[in-house]
């Protein structure tokens, strides 16, 4: 739960979107208006916040809010 709440905050901050829109199924590009550069910056913010390193090939798979939460939760296990 802690990961999810933090992740939503990061997404709201980085993409300047309303919190209500940041639902698990939301796609960063299609639903939250991110472009490719926004995605890179979003991944960097996740790395900073959760103190993890996300390799590019993993980052490419993170396309929705749920993907991001799952990835960080898994890496922290």
């Amino acid at each position: 739960m802690a990961v999810e709440a933090k992740m939503i905050d990061i997404i709201v901050e980085q993409l300047s979107v309303d919190k209500e829109k940041v639902v698990p199924a939301a796609s960063f590009v299609d639903d939250l208006g991110a472009d490719s550069l926004d995605l890179v910056e979003l991944i960097m913010a996740m790395e900073e916040e959760f103190d993890v390193e996300i390799p590019d090939e993993e980052a490419e798979k993170i396309t929705t809010v749920q993907n991001a939460i799952d990835f960080v939760a898994k890496i922290q296990e």
Binding site: L15, S16, L37, V40, E41, M44, E47, E48
Partner: protein, 413 residues
Amino acid sequence: MKRRVVVTGIGLVTPLGTGTDKTWDNLIHGRGGIGPITRFDASGHASQIAAEVKDFSAADWFEKKQVKNLDLFVQYAIAAAELAWKDSGLSVTDENRERIGVITGCGMGGLPTIEEYHQVLMEKGPRKITPFFIPRVIPNMPSGHISMRLGSKGPNLTQTTACAAGTHAVGEAFRHIAYGDCDVAVTGGTESVICPLAVGGFSAMKALSTRNDDPATASRPFDVDRDGFVISEGSGMLILEELETARKRGARIYAEIIGYGQTSDAYHIAAPPEDGEGGARCMAMALRDARVAAESVDYINAHGTSTPLNDRCETLAIKTVFQEHASKLAISSTKSMTGHMLGAAGGIESAFTALTLHTGIIPPTINLHNPAPECDLDYVPLTAREANPEVAISNSFGFGGTNGVVVMKKFSE
């Protein structure tokens, strides 16, 4: 036959205020915008003063997400361009969008962001550099963003000729319209580098005033006690328009641009030649282009930086070009109030020159209490003058020995 080009819009973001009315009102009342540097702790610097833009609120212009990816020099440029566009009354349509160009000038680009991310690079490594670093710092981003916001699809260029950049932008825009490459251009200059590297760098060249105890009188062009320029920031944008296009829609016309000159000193990286010959040839070239006699010029908005060298050499250059007429025309340095806006200066000063012709009021050179012996022309000291000038020129000279001059005329059919 070249087409005629007129100024139909002006937008200003300066240390004298955001908006043309505010800046112009302060300018003609001799109120300057210089104070202690607040952007960073300048206590270790030789020069600790600047003219900072004080009333600009990014939230008035941009969404939150946009702000963090736009350097101040880009923000100022977009705001000034939108003010100018609104002022012109033009609208972008599918019929005209490919005929609208954007040609701006900028001396340095996003130096504050370069400073910030150099530190990130050193402390945290290359993986921590934001993907927005490059789009934030490259000097042509103002022109790019302005075209994206307007939806204008004509020529898109940027001049990076140091302190002459704004004037070269206006001159090039004038030429693009005259030669038919576009019918309308958003043009001018922008800059925002009140940061440790720029202040330290200009200080190392002994270019900046160190009158830290009295910032309001630090910019004193042509005065015997001048000791350097005062760093400043902001943006000045103009809408230039082909005369027939402007006429057809009944546009308000501030002035007509009639000539443009550009020369090199081929002399030194920073200093002008002692006789100011590069500047002189530039003024002469601009007057030839304008097909007006030197005697018909009533007003010069001088480069007038307040450095010992510029003001002496510019005065000599004016005497070379205008001969006996040099002592009859009015000259002023608006940098006495705005400070030196570097790449933005030519945009701002082109706007001031157009406003001078439009209103008939010549802004003063403030702080000019004791003209230097080698500066013996009429610099409109201390107070503005109502004079109704017909023809005016605006001078800009940049490091690297590059010069730019535009000639404007009070509009008449």
